[in-house]
């Protein structure tokens, strides 16, 4: 991403027009939401407006931030708990600051065990694609992908 020529062109163009920029790679996981979705964000302000808590303007202009700078609990880079657990034997504080998925579920959907589920994955999809699923449980703290294939046919 850092070597992307499109990004460089975009930054150069914004700067030539008088904008100050700041760039981020952020995931909902670092805000406690159990969805893994790392995305690039670019903010720009017209000079003389500047971004607070940022090192001086001439510093490494290419830095892509892994957190939003400023006061508050979120003022640190996000560390993937899967990397941290190896050191902390699975009790890393970071992994538990992310919600369990159960808080995001419609409990009523799973109450009736007799009826075929409205959102059940059909057999033909299971047969063909089952081995590629990312399967999560109500106690999980991470979901991955919901685009295209994730939609019920």
């Amino acid at each position: 991403m850092k070597s992307s020529t499109t990004r460089k062109l975009l930054l150069l163009t914004l700067r030539s027009l008088g904008y100050i920029t700041s760039e981020f790679l952020l995931t909902p996981l670092q805000f406690g939401i159990p969805n893994s979705r790392l995305r690039y964000y670019l903010l720009a302000k017209m000079f003389p407006l500047v971004f607070p808590h940022m090192p001086n303007l001439n510093a490494d202009v290419d830095e892509v931030w892994r957190h939003i700078p400023g006061p508050g609990q979120l003022n640190h880079d996000w560390v993937d708990p899967r990397l941290q657990q190896r050191d902390e034997r699975g009790h890393g504080a970071a992994s538990h600051s992310v919600d369990e998925i159960r808080f995001y579920l419609d409990e009523a959907l799973d109450e009736d065990k007799t009826v075929s589920h409205l959102y059940a994955v059909p057999d033909r999809i299971l047969q063909r694609w089952g081995r590629l699923f990312d399967i999560v449980l109500p106690s999980s703290r991470r979901t991955c992908c919901f685009t295209r294939g994730a939609s019920p046919p």
Binding site: P28, Y104, I135, T147, A150
Partner: protein, 115 residues
Amino acid sequence: MNEELDVCNFTTLSPRTSLHHQTTETFDKFLQAQSNRDEDAVRILHPLCLRYFSPAELLRLFNFDLPHHDVPRIPNEISSPFVWPKGVTRKAKFRLIGNSVNVRVVKELINFLFE
């Protein structure tokens, strides 16, 4: 940087399973049966009750709606303030949410932008 290496297989839910190794074991049995050309191998997966997330659940995960612990529960009341326009299909809902960005992340960025 591990996260960038996530293989983006799509996420499904096993709603009544409590331990991860249960899904792994079940899947191993299923794959074994499949490789033995068991025509009915898929039945092995049925106890997992695998399902997709509902649009309402995705709206919570993308923070258009709040998760349960941030919303006071009122019995017999629909807690979601989010209303879809009439005629939006389920498939379209999934596509729309899946293509969007997380509202919480954008909120934090906007706060920073106007700080």
